[in-house]
Symmetry: C2
Subunit: 338 residues, 2 copies
């Protein structure tokens, strides 16, 4: 009998999440039916968007999230023991995946792509959802052209660090913001032309100096005041890709209980003729492997680098998640259960 | 010797413009040089966007704006006496247009299109800039498809009334807002499916009822609170065309001295994957006649109706302009000098 550990959402977070918002429980995994498999977590993902999910998730349900897992028991010849997959069954060490769930394979249940010698954890990072978020969100929404000036914030994060490098591959000038001197140093190593620590720099002055002719494409992970200021520095016909708004995820306001209230200025969007578009990466489900294959090719060619901040121990999932809002991670934040 | 009358911007408007912000002066027109023409205003345009121009225009310069004018004296065989044109030399009864200005013909100096039996004043209305604003701003930015639900505010105005009808021509369901019962009645006659008086209706409730499946395309003339509320009712992948924001033009705020501060919510734009784009109609300069020719064809086929609110007397230009912010006009606001 396998006993799974899992984290439930015990309390609705108010402001920055706290450890007490989550409860660690155990659950016996029942015997497998015909066609079922049992998988064990190899690497679990914590992502900023989960803060937003935590607003809507029913209390006492398993926290949402993705993981790379390995089949450890199988009654399904297509999913033999040792095979890896990516699933979104949440924060759990062991998961029974039924025959019927395996049949309705979708974006939230995929075989792990062939990784060659790369770490399997990339399946929840650069060669998974965050990588495709950067790839499609930049190329399809921002439509950067060689010579364009591209602005990226959260540039040392899982998505931002990929955006920086893809923009450089496409021949753009890249202006990046990150939240510590160590992060700034790494983002410079990734090839960004101008990198600023948003905690110490004056954002407006930095943008005036680094983008005297304006920003053509802005990939926004941060939202809030950063975005309001950055819009003033867009060039005419600039494109803004709204990927996330981590600076606002912990805010609760009367006017917009769902938070993410922003400071978009109609004047600026109108007179500069900007195009601002929000997206969820799932819209590119039909082109999913196109993105992952291109990203993997770039990694293998040495054009795309990555880092992971690994927290060891399943019991530290909440701390790893909370750490996202303290800027603890450089690159992808990953929890390895053991 | 011809003496022109002209209105100068005497004072920077604060809040809603006042008559005292403008000064009527006279100016002697000098003798024509080789290739010059003298034109006389036939119909002058007042438009909401001029409020915005009045923030930037140097004091004591002629108020900006367009007019249909007629050549009354000519030393240029290509511009004979009696020929009509549309120019943007501002609020003036008579204008000397030099040979060199006539050569650099652009969007702000165009021959009046052949009008057949239609009123020449349409050259500053439905068959001019406001018409093309509706045509391109709806079709190119909102990309309405047959069966889409389209929202238009300011729907009894020069632009909005054209948007309503073009959306109906394209097979859309149209929800429209206007500012009086008389306007609502007219917009219904234009074919809109649901029309509300924004001064008496609850905008949120009206949209919930009229667009239970959400709004696919929103052509925004109004901005501010209307827009913030309307965004909540967009369907996934909705398109928002930011044409103007008349509700905010008279606002001055510390945060955004240029006003037009809006209440865009990143949350809504992001989670609904909206595309919000601002535009100035000049971007379609290369396709200008495509728009005007299509609009004229629809007018002649009876598919596109129009109204004008005519103010007589050049000395009433400021009142006609101020009246835009009181909702005085149904259809295009036009000043006829005599």
């Amino acid at each position: 009998m396998v006993v799974a550990k899992l984290w439930k959402l015990a309390r609705r977070p108010e402001g920055k999440p706290r450890v007490e918002d989550f409860a660690l429980v155990e659950e016996e995994i029942p015997a497998l039916g015909e066609g079922d498999v049992l998988v064990e977590a190899v690497a679990l993902s914590v992502d900023p968007y989960l803060r937003y999910r935590a607003r809507m998730l029913p209390l006492n349900s398993v926290m949402f999230g993705s993981q790379v897992a390995k089949v450890i028991e199988s009654r399904n010849p297509q999913w033999p023991v040792g095979k890896h997959l990516v699933h979104y069954e949440g924060w759990r060490t062991h998961t029974l995946i039924t025959a019927s769930r395996l049949q309705e394979k979708d974006l939230q249940l995929q075989p792990l792509p062939e990784m060659q010698d790369l770490p399997k954890s990339l399946g929840i990072g650069l060669l998974g959802m965050p990588g495709n978020t950067a790839y499609f969100g930049l190329l399809d929404i921002c439509e950067p052209k060689a010579g364009d000036t591209v602005l990226v914030n959260g540039a040392a994060g899982a998505v931002g660090s990929a955006v920086v490098q893809i923009a450089k591959i496409k021949g753009c000038k890249v202006i990046a913001f990150a939240g510590s001197d160590e992060k700034v140093k790494w983002v410079k190593e990734l090839g960004a032309d101008h990198v600023f620590n948003y905690k110490t720099a004056n954002i407006g002055e930095a943008l005036s100096q680094a983008a005297p002719n304006g920003i053509n494409a802005f990939f926004d992970n941060v939202g809030g005041k950063f975005t309001a200021e950055a819009l003033n520095h867009m060039a005419d016909f600039g494109r803004v890709s709204l990927c996330g708004a981590i600076s606002t995820y912990n805010e609760e306001t009367k006017e917009a209980p769902g938070a993410l209230t922003g400071a978009f200025k109609e004047r600026v969007v109108l007179t500069k003729q900007l195009r601002v578009e929000g997206f969820l990466v799932t819209r590119w489900g039909a082109r999913w492997m196109e993105g992952l294959n291109q990203l993997k090719a770039w990694v293998l060619e040495g054009k795309l680098k990555y880092r992971e901040t690994v927290v060891h121990g399943f019991e530290k999932m909440p701390q790893a998640f909370i750490g996202l809002f303290d800027g603890d991670n450089i690159g992808k934040a990953v929890v390895v259960p053991q």
